[in-house]
Symmetry: C2
Subunit: 103 residues, 2 copies
Amino acid sequence: MLERLSDKWVTLVLTGLASGPRRYSDLSRRIAGVSQKMLTQTLRGLERDGLVRRTVTPSVPVRVDYELTPLGESLMPLVAAIKGWAEANIQTVEAARKTYDAA
Amino acid sequence: MLERLSDKWVTLVLTGLASGPRRYSDLSRRIAGVSQKMLTQTLRGLERDGLVRRTVTPSVPVRVDYELTPLGESLMPLVAAIKGWAEANIQTVEAARKTYDAA
DNA sequence: CGGGATCCGTCCGGATACTG
DNA sequence: CAGTATCCGGACGGATCCCG
């Protein structure tokens, strides 16, 4: 469980879904640097864990939407808190790195 | 920054330091499954980022203590919250996995 | 005791090509 | 559009040996 939470892309995907349902191509555009393979793989994992729901609309071409489940939403305050901490302290951390690397 | 937070061992090491300073061998015993290489590497990274302070006591044999810096401690509520969420919802997640795998 | 250095297998993840 | 399949290099991380 902790391993899934510590996946590099999970936080990004979850954040991408925070404000409502998103289509696959929508997500892939919003998440910079993610490959199609990793995005699909991450979504599959989150779906398996019950954090994300996948909805297929059988039109032509097919349309697929992803959205957070209630369980997934219950995780969002924590994800947001982490993002907030990171943004608030990134400069302190980078200063510490410079000091460390100088020695 | 997010990448460092998403490191597999970081959460474990941080948790291991939550209740005060620990010696190296102490940490390695408390964190199940961590190799000496990974423990050292993780501690170095956290020290570099200013989250952990390393103190060497030049006795024979040498004694090394690790402890959270104020910056590191400011991260602990988030780590604890994540651990709490994981423990509270692990069974729901595992049930979702079984359902998913059955299909 | 607290590591550093090295070797080496495994798996992560990107690139590419193809499909309903 | 939303994937699946395959190939493949490189990073991750364990095991082992050595040292002050």
